[in-house]
């Protein structure tokens, strides 16, 4: 079996239109060999269309897809040697587990004995040897998914495409399968693309995440970078929980920007780029980047404390600014506790690096 070392996948300026609707707009992604990349975004963001372009089910309007540097755009789906695990698993309901796994090899005209050996091997890999003669409907959801994975692995695909593979599983099983998929991907050194709308799934499975919105890639980076340094306002809102505060940039200098918040405070925020003086901006701060204080000071704004919920080692505060914006704030339950309700002052943690975005350019 080949596929032990991965293949590179290059998506180069791919655009796809369905009639007047642009589903994928000029997307370029370079996926390294042996890497899992998650396409993460809300439904209708173009991630599934992009997957179908790579699989060869739809022919893109423009752009090119290359595996190991060779363009595969002219190849029909059945000649691309790409493995897919579908959301519905798409197991052939009239065939046994073993026949399902053998299907791809038989289609390639592999000799009977080799097919049998490969089926045994991949059923062992997904630990379903005892279920080889069952029909798909006689298996649990997790077992069905393992058959789908074995079936896709058996043809030694160059690239593995996973189309929302965990969404039909219940929550407890989901984590097990995520670990299982990651284990198999490592074992076979597979290059894989995972389409998902679930950020936790993308975070736990993927090496890098491409956050998509309206057919475009908003950010393509490691999970930690996407969480800590969101490139756009959309990414900051879509990944994790965030608080959005409107304001105006006053001046940028030496990698910091002075911002006047509508909530009533002037803050100095570390920024990568300069903002024009007077530009309308949005400050995006994670709940753990905020801190509550008992007294007023520079860089703090007044908040009304509506509720405090204990979440294990943390307390989650539900706050309202004086201009009516709801904030979420998480801090450890240790240390001096402020009055559970009433007014307080909210500020950034000293080491926090919140996102700052132009409202005019970001959506």
């Amino acid at each position: 079996m080949s596929g032990e070392q991965g293949h590179t996948l290059d998506i180069d300026s791919v655009t796809h239109r369905y009639g007047p609707v642009t589903a994928v707009a000029d997307v370029s992604l370079a996926v390294r060999a042996g890497e899992i990349v998650a396409l993460l975004g809300p439904s209708g963001c173009g991630k599934t269309t992009l997957l179908r372009v790579v699989a060869g089910f739809v022919r893109q309007s423009a752009g090119s897809v290359r595996i190991d540097g060779k363009a595969i755009d002219h190849l029909p789906a059945n000649l691309r040697n790409v493995g897919i695990v579908f959301q519905s698993y798409a197991l052939f309901p009239h065939m046994t587990v073993a026949h399902n796994v053998a299907y791809g090899l038989q289609a390639r005209g592999v000799p009977r004995g080799d097919v049998r050996r490969a089926v045994e091997r991949f059923l062992e890999v997904v630990r379903l040897t005892d279920f080889r003669d069952r029909l798909p409907r006689q298996l649990s959801g997790g077992q069905q998914q393992r058959v789908a994975v074995a079936r896709a692995l058996a043809v030694a695909p160059t690239v593995m495409l996973l189309d929302e593979p965990f969404s039909a599983l219940d929550k407890g099983l989901r984590l097990d399968m995520q670990i299982e998929i990651k284990r198999l991907q490592r074992q076979f050194g597979l290059t894989a693309i995972l389409v998902t709308h679930d950020q936790d799934e993308a975070m736990s499975v993927a090496d890098r995440i491409a956050v998509m919105n309206h057919g475009r890639v908003e950010q393509f980076d490691t999970p930690i970078a996407v969480y800590d340094r969101p490139a756009t306002l959309f990414v900051s809102g879509f990944i994790g929980t965030t608080n959005l505060l409107r304001g105006r940039a006053l001046e940028s200098a030496n990698g910091t920007t002075l911002v006047e918040l509508e909530a009533g405070a002037k803050l100095t925020v570390p920024t990568d780029r300069a903002f024009a003086a007077g530009a309308a901006v949005m400050l995006s701060a994670r709940p753990e980047q905020l801190r509550l204080h008992a007294e007023a000071a520079a860089g703090r704004w007044r908040v009304h404390r509506r509720l405090a919920v204990p979440l294990g080692p943390n307390t989650m505060h539900d706050l309202e600014t004086r201009d009516g914006v709801t904030l979420k704030l998480v801090e450890p339950r240790l240390g001096p506790s402020v009055e559970p309700t009433g007014d307080a002052w909210c500020g950034l943690r000293p080491d926090a690096r919140p996102g700052l975005f132009d409202i005019a350019t970001s959506t």
């Binding site: 059945n78 040697n81 009239h94 896709a152």
Partner: protein
């Protein structure tokens, strides 16, 4: 104090069950009863009519022709209809609605109208003969009316909705990603058709074929109008015996023979369906 008993589900089926008993089961028993009389006046019990019917080579030819007509019509509708179903499967939602409408359209007109339309098409001066003569493909008008070919051709169109409705219903319930999965695993379009689409659509095809067989073997109006007196099938025989000759016992024998023939034909189609399903895997 009395306890009110809620009607069980089966009691809701009672009206239909009574209607079936009154208008299907009782007449069927009467039919069996009438067939067991020797004379046309229905006075003497005996199996003389059965013996007469089954000993006559002519009636055997009629039975064989009737079953053959059903078989040919099933084969023709399946051969023409299955590709239509495949087109439906590959079409977008809007074209699927158009195809479904075109399939149902014939059901909105009466069988008599559809049959007479076929006379216009198949006649000596009909559309087909005009076209053949104009193209120089035939030296003289072909005889299409009152032939088995012509009748099968007409029945193929007339019975097509019965084949397609169950077939399309099964096809539209098929998970479209199954065909994608097959292609992604390296299967050609032909292999996907033979290994995935065909076996999974088989229940619909078998149901459609059963309906077409049962309907075409008993299609008295179409058989009579297009086949005329030259082509005799069991329904015509029953009509002649019951309403022309007034030999009701013989008519009952013929009717029961038709019932058994249709039943055997339908059972055979179901058996072929089961066999090929097992084979396809």
């Amino acid at each position: 104090m009395t306890v009110r008993v809620r009607p069980a589900e089966w009691q809701l089926a009672l009206p239909l069950a009574l209607a079936y008993a009154a208008f299907f089961l009782v007449p069927l028993l009467l039919l069996i009863g009438v067939s067991a009389f020797d004379d046309e006046k229905i006075t003497t019990l005996g199996f003389a009519q059965w013996r007469r019917f089954l000993a006559d080579p002519f009636t055997w030819k009629v039975i064989v022709d009737t079953v053959k007509l059903g078989g040919l019509t099933v084969a023709a509708t399946a051969l023409v209809g299955y590709p239509v179903a495949l087109v439906y499967l590959g079409a977008g939602p809007r074209w699927q609605r158009v195809i479904l409408f075109v399939v149902i359209l014939p059901l909105l007109t009466s069988v008599v109208v559809r049959t007479f339309a076929w006379i216009v098409i198949l006649g000596r001066e009909g559309v087909i003969n005009q076209a053949l003569l104009w193209l120089g493909l035939a030296p003289a008008p072909l005889r299409l009316l009152q032939t088995e070919h012509g009748l099968v051709m007409a029945l193929t169109q007339i019975e097509m909705p019965l084949l397609l409705l169950p077939l399309l219903s099964v096809m539209s319930r098929m998970d479209p990603s199954l065909r994608d999965a097959s292609a992604a695993l390296g299967a050609s379009k032909w292999r996907t058709l033979v290994r995935v689409t065909l076996p999974l659509s088989l229940p619909g095809l078998v149901a459609g074929c059963m309906l077409v067989f049962a309907s075409s073997t008993t299609a008295f109006i179409s058989q009579f109008v297009i086949g005329g007196n030259r082509l005799v099938y069991l329904p015509l025989l029953i009509w002649q015996q019951s309403l022309v000759v007034y030999n009701w016992p013989l008519a009952s024998v013929a009717a029961l023979t038709l019932l058994v023939s249709v039943g055997l034909g339908v059972t055979a189609i179901a058996a072929v369906g089961r066999r090929s399903r097992a084979y396809a895997v």
